[in-house]
């Protein structure tokens, strides 16, 4: 059957960029299709930058940014955002930390005020610190300690793959380290990393560019200028011998395994990196994908499989070093070695025989849908563009992604598959200790 190739559509969100005198970079992307706005502030510091003995600190500090600031009491931030009809949150990633709101557009100035106020300085008190250490411990219990497969594989695979503290350590943090954190640590962290020159502000949605620019200058213009710190080199050599680790999860009823391979630098070698993003989808997106067909349907050696780029599933907002991951959940008594061997076989087959008729085009069409769907949310645009500005100086790349993904060729995907050799792999296995 001849393949009708779906035409990959793109978006044309306009992009305005500028920089304030204090070094703050700003991205505006107006879209008046709904009376809502997204506001995102992204600081160029994440899990990889936290000091030894302070695991989990970047995330703990994110919590402290909500505990009041120069002109705002504790609880005021939440109340002002929600009292304007908006929602808020923040999240800590390997290479950045974001703070964001979605609001009806009549709250633009208020949101700018709130973000500028904490950029000038959060209220760092002993009481708030102790309170948020307790809250973070409960967060870790909910997400890691009190559930099966907690932290698998995003916390359990990096220490197998990497040797240096920045890349290998537990980003949620040990309770000992969290409890050791001091107000002085927080002040130091703020001074070093939460500099105007180390931040990007992005505003999306129902805004007028001229008016928004004036408001941004009014509220952020007098944030004291501090330069961005020098970014350390987090590079590590690739693996040349396979690494394996297995651990027992007392709550898990069934086995699971994840394998990861290093991929090209997502920033410096974007063209080399993109084929891996496509490859992950060719392997695992839906019932017509290779690994689902083989492992779930034919062999029945796994009950679920996923493939993605980046330990936090963040293909376009992570720097080097990062990885392509394949993770699988197995049936009772499942054979992890066999699953890993089948990964190898299927990667070999793909590298050797290439793709089937239409396989690449349909995967790319589906990827376009996913990318476009993410950008429909006003906040999705602000967050993505803020990070693209921060890491690449290229927020407009968001508009180009569906097309660029669509231009990846079969040869590139095959070549990418050929590099995912067992000797370059790090794998982690969950041994079920549960089954209550």
């Amino acid at each position: 059957m001849p393949t009708r190739r779906a035409k990959i559509p793109t978006t044309k969100y306009p992009v305005e960029r500028f920089r304030l005198d204090n070094g703050l970079r700003v991205v505006l992307t107006p879209d008046r299709s709904a009376p809502v706005i997204g506001v995102a502030v992204v600081y160029d510091v994440g899990i990889r930058s936290e000091p030894e003995g302070r695991t989990g600190f970047a995330h703990l500090f994110e919590h402290l940014m909500f505990q009041g600031s120069e002109n705002l009491e504790k609880l005021a931030h939440f109340r002002h955002v929600q009292g304007a009809g908006g929602t808020f949150n923040g999240s800590t990633h390997l290479d950045y930390t974001d703070y964001f709101e979605t609001l009806p557009s009549n709250a633009l100035e208020r949101a700018l005020f709130l973000e500028a106020d904490r950029m000038r300085g959060p209220r760092l008190t002993e009481e708030n610190l102790r309170n948020q250490v307790d809250v973070v411990k409960e967060e870790i219990r909910v997400n890691v300690l009190n559930r099966p497969y907690g932290g698998f594989p995003w916390l359990t695979l990096p220490p197998v793959m990497f040797d240096t503290f920045p890349n290998a350590h537990d980003g949620y943090g040990s309770f000992t380290d969290l409890e050791s954190a001091t107000v002085a640590d927080a002040a130091d962290f703020f001074r070093r990393y939460y500099a105007s020159g180390n931040a990007v502000l992005a505003v999306s949605g129902d805004i007028d560019v001229v008016e928004a620019t004036a408001l941004i200058e009014r509220h952020f213009g007098d944030v004291p200028a501090r330069p961005a710190p020098e970014r350390p080199d987090f590079t590590e050599p690739d693996l040349t011998v396979e690494r394996r680790h297995a651990y027992t999860d007392q709550l898990a009823p069934l086995p699971a395994v994840a394998g990861a391979w290093r991929v090209p630098d997502p920033i410096d070698d974007f063209a080399g990196y993109l084929p891996y993003v496509v490859l992950a989808e060719v392997l695992t997106d839906g019932d017509a994908s290779r690994l689902v067909e083989r492992l779930v349907q034919r062999d029945r050696t796994v009950t679920g499989i996923g493939g993605y780029l980046g330990f936090m599933g963040d293909p376009f907002d992570v720097r080097d070093p990062t990885a392509l991951l394949l993770q699988a959940h197995l049936p009772p008594g499942g054979d992890v070695d066999k699953v890993l061997r089948t990964f190898d076989e299927e990667l070999d087959r793909l590298a050797t025989d290439g793709l089937t008729e239409g396989e690449l085009a349909r995967t790319q069409a589906r990827m376009a849908t996913h990318l476009l769907r993410d950008t429909d949310a006003v906040l999705g645009r602000a967050l993505r563009m803020a990070v693209l500005e921060q890491q690449r100086g290229e927020p407009g790349l968001l508009n180009e992604l569906p097309r660029l993904v669509g231009e990846v060729t079969e040869d590139q995907v095959r070549a990418a598959a050929a590099t995912l050799r067992p000797e370059r792999r790090a794998a982690v296995e969950v041994i079920p200790g549960g089954a209550r």
Partner: protein, 448 residues
């Protein structure tokens, strides 16, 4: 205080006021009831060149394990297409479909490039009319579902939910929503074909299409593709959900648990009830958003928990308010104490106007946010339509939210949020928490 903030600003900065409120504006839409009884609603939001699809089919009172298996396997093949082919054909137009089930409905949902709408509808029709439930595929999916249930049963949130449903719904069909592995193992393809033949029909079903479409043109496309889908469902009405019966706190043992799952169920009313809007506001004040009393107390003041939340859940046969928090084992008693305190305070003392205003703005603002994406609009339109409502209800509801007074909210709080009405359940390490709880309230202990 650190050196970063010891220097106060020369002059305190004032919080900027909000600009004028934008009136809620409903998107362009069209609706048609097809000859086969299917209702189709199409809504225009052209922001990105995609279309969202939701097909809501009533599915109450069906066999639990067979229903669960049907939703696992409805996309596993038709007379003309294998499951792999269905998935590949959908992918070609950037599409995908998935199925989900609850005690009210079977739902098929998906999204794809808008240029592929006709093709997605064609494939949808093929599945609705001609799903074959191939034996081999059913075998595979049965094992997968059993595994998934086993994993769910190791998760505290699932166990707490299961125990709570049983406690509040008793003998009602809502009481058990997850089948046992053995029941799933007994499901055969023939039973799925029969269930499909009996239940998967257009009468009473609602298809919602939202996206970069002209609504009339989308209705035409749906009519063309789905005209051959026919028949009436052989189903029975769900009985109304029973009223909550307060009683001793139910303590469900999960030995070794490092947290306790606290659940409080309270009475609520359907969306169309006059008390709904003030109750939504009362729920926000209590625990329905971050700036609520409960969150400010047990998280931001005491640090007992990460994400407490209360929400009004609407189902076809009734509504219920559920408050949920995962709290550290050692503070389970104190967390329950604060929870009952905050419920009792709201039920006995009228809120301050400022506090109500803040909750009202949040309720109104988040209506706007919920409508601002294709996916949000589609899910909202479908949830409303499944309960006999249309998007126009948003405007009515917004008007009710806007005019609810302090007295209205105090009155519904007394009626619905009173701790005396509560059904309370805690899942956790019973040996470590029973004593803490028993000093506050009578406790009945059960194993998980």
């Amino acid at each position: 205080m650190s050196s970063v903030t010891t220097t106060p600003p020369a002059e305190a900065r004032a919080l900027p006021p909000l600009g004028p409120t934008r009136k809620l504006k409903l998107p362009k839409q069209a609706e048609r009831r097809l000859a086969n009884g299917l209702t189709v609603i199409a809504v225009r939001r052209p922001a990105v060149p995609l279309v969202e699809l939701r097909l809501w089919m009533p599915f109450g009172r069906t066999h639990l394990a067979r229903g669960a298996m049907l939703s696992q396997t409805v996309l596993s093949g038709t007379r003309t297409h294998t499951a792999t082919r269905i998935a590949a054909e959908l992918q070609k137009v950037g599409g995908g479909l998935s199925a989900g089930i609850d005690p009210d409905r079977l739902m098929l949902s998906g999204a794809g490039l808008v240029t592929g709408l006709d093709r997605m509808l064609e494939i949808l029709a093929d599945v609705l009319i001609g799903a074959t439930y191939p034996a081999e595929w059913v075998d595979t999916e049965r094992d997968r579902l059993v595994d998934r249930i086993q994993v769910a049963q190791s998760q505290p949130a699932h166990l707490a939910r299961t125990a709570l449903l049983k406690r509040i719904y008793g003998r009602h069909p809502y009481a058990v929503q997850t089948p046992e592995p053995d029941q799933v193992r007994a499901v055969r393809p023939a039973a799925l074909r029969k269930l499909h033949a009996d239940q998967v029909h257009p009468a009473e079903a609602v298809l919602v299409l939202v996206g970069d479409v002209q609504p009339e043109r989308a209705l035409d496309a749906a009519e063309k593709a789905l005209a051959g889908w026919n028949g009436d469902r052989r189903g029975a009405e769900l009985p109304p959900a029973p009223p909550l019966e307060p009683g001793p706190l139910l303590l469900v043992d999960r030995p070794g648990s490092v947290q306790s799952s606290l659940r409080v169920a309270l009475p609520a009313v359907p969306r169309t009830h006059p008390d709904h809007a003030p109750l939504q506001l009362a729920n926000l004040l209590f625990g329905g958003y971050f700036s609520s009393r409960w969150t400010e107390n047990i998280r931001e003041d005491k640090g007992y928990t990460y994400g407490p939340h209360s929400t009004v859940e609407h189902s076809v046969a009734g509504s219920v308010l559920v408050a949920a928090a995962e709290v550290a084992t050692e503070v389970t008693g104190p967390a329950l104490l604060e929870t009952m305190y905050e419920l009792g305070r709201l039920a006995t003392v009228a809120p301050k106007p400022d506090e109500l205003e803040q909750a009202r703005q949040y309720a109104l603002g988040t209506l706007q946010l919920g409508m601002s994406t294709q996916a949000g609009l589609a899910s909202l339109t479908s949830a409303y339509a499944g309960n006999g409502l249309r998007l126009e209800f948003l405007a009515e509801h917004a008007a009710r939210l806007a005019k609810a007074t302090v007295d209205d909210v105090a009155e519904v709080a007394a009626r619905y949020l009173a701790p005396a009405n509560a059904v309370t359940l805690v899942l956790g390490d019973a040996d470590r928490i029973e004593g803490q709880l028993a000093v506050l309230t009578p406790v009945r202990r059960e194993s998980a």
